[in-house]
């Protein structure tokens, strides 16, 4: 492929004309950039490892945190991330095929494979947007602080909220009114603020309503922080016992018993740093993918205009290819160290 090595004597090598690496300036500089960028990502992942190693409590487990699929719901541990990995690997393959076509001066081949690469890149960025949105909004159950002070994450199927029936009038809602809109949002907001009590919700306008909700199923509580009786590492609590403990705390009418989703201060999955590293590492990688797609589009325009064909070689495609493969390379490590381990 590239860089056909030929034997050179020392005089030619150091004479200033021949490159010791027998490669062009541009490609060498791209490698220099990639090494420095790899150091940045290496630093980020090592920092993540540092935090995990000195952390005292239970660290979130990837397959418990990331187990949702678009349109399918919960119960698919890590499948979505695996799909994202596969998409990125495939787009890396189409890129290397574009480079190969370039070496044969096959302009149409380069165009075809670069378009495929760009589509793959957009798919990956889109997947990441979905995952961020899911991470930020969180699960329907959230993380619950039990009555003994222990904290638990909750798995299972959340019974749908049908409506709220007002039993005590407030500023807007009259007694007997049935509210059917924005239920989940109201419910979670009230849960965080401690406005849920004995099966009733206090709405924004001060009215009190009865919650008409379907039963949950397959509920499972996994302890993540020690309490007086429940400890980390205990067997998960299932079914009715789990429901009793969960709703005892949720309907206690006290604030801050439940956390939904994630922001930079807290998240339902684990310690604060977990959310911060998630946002920074996947965000920084996602930014690289996004810039990669933009660069690929610019180069594709150059290919279509025939700029590189006239030049006699498609090295620009090879150089952007290097960057694109690097993005895939980083993801392989993020996938292992952030999601799997």
């Amino acid at each position: 492929m590239a860089g056909h090595a030929t034997q050179l004597d020392a005089k030619t090598l150091w004479g200033g004309k021949e490159s010791p690496f027998q490669t062009s300036y541009g490609k060498l500089m791209m490698w220099f950039f990639l090494v420095s960028d790899a150091l940045t990502f290496g630093g980020l992942l090592v920092a993540y490892g540092f935090t995990r190693h000195d952390f005292q409590g239970a660290w979130p487990i990837g397959e418990e945190t990331f187990n949702s699929m678009p349109f399918l719901g919960h119960g698919y541990p890590l499948l979505y991330v695996a799909l994202m990995t596969f998409i990125l690997i495939v787009s890396s393959v189409t890129m290397v095929l574009a480079v190969e076509a370039g070496h044969r001066m096959d302009k149409n081949g380069v165009v075809k494979w670069m378009i495929a690469t760009i589509i793959g890149g957009f798919f990956f960025v889109g997947s990441q947007a979905w995952e961020w949105s899911h991470f930020i909004h969180g699960s329907e159950f959230g993380k619950i602080e039990l009555s003994d002070g222990a904290q638990a994450i909750v798995k299972g199927h959340f019974g749908e909220i049908k409506n709220f029936t007002v039993v005590e009038a407030g500023k807007h809602h009259k007694k007997g009114a049935v509210i059917t809109e924005d239920l989940m949002h109201e419910f979670q907001h009230a849960a965080e603020k401690g406005y849920l009590k004995d099966g009733k919700i206090q709405l924004h306008d001060g009215s009190i309503a009865k919650i008409n909700k379907e039963a949950d199923s397959h509920m499972k509580l996994i302890i993540k922080k020690d309490g007086k009786t429940n400890k980390v590492g205990d067997a998960p609590i299932h079914g009715k016992a789990a429901e009793k403990m969960y709703y005892e705390s949720l309907y206690a009418g006290e604030p801050n018993h439940v956390i939904y989703g994630a922001n930079l201060k807290q998240n339902e999955y684990g310690p604060q740093q977990y959310g911060q590293f998630f946002f920074f590492i996947t965000g920084f990688h996602g930014f690289h993918v996004f810039s990669g797609v933009i660069i690929n589009i610019i180069i594709l325009l150059g290919v279509m205009a025939g700029t590189y064909h006239k030049r006699g070689h498609y090295e620009m495609v090879e150089k952007t290819g290097l960057y694109w493969h690097f993005v895939d390379l980083v993801w392989v490590f993020v996938f292992t160290f952030f999601y799997l381990i």
């Binding site: 090494v35 890590l78 393959v93 292992t336």
Partner: protein, 123 residues
Amino acid sequence: MERDDLIEYSLHAHHSEDQGKVIRKKIYFVTILLTVITVLEVALGAYIKQSSGAWPYVKWSFVVLTLLKAGYIVMVFMHLGDEKKTLRYFILVPYILFILYLIFIALWEALEIGSAWATYGGA
């Protein structure tokens, strides 16, 4: 003025139709390999829990499989394997040395800090 004494290495990268076939075959082989490794990793992660006794082995096999994947991406997709040996080592050796040192020093320090917290307490 255009210089004619510079060597266009970029032109050395061309290959023929037949060579292309061989290269593409290698690319497809690596694609399948990377996919199989990813599927294997997810299956291992789904079936063996972190609380199980086999987890440490699974964890280390993740690291080994990841390095294998990374090796194929760098050597074949980024075709560092086809570059001159000096360039290959010039890129890889300093990086690997530095990152190994960083991993060692940071994780060791983290374990010590962790045990200090555990011993002397604190919020």
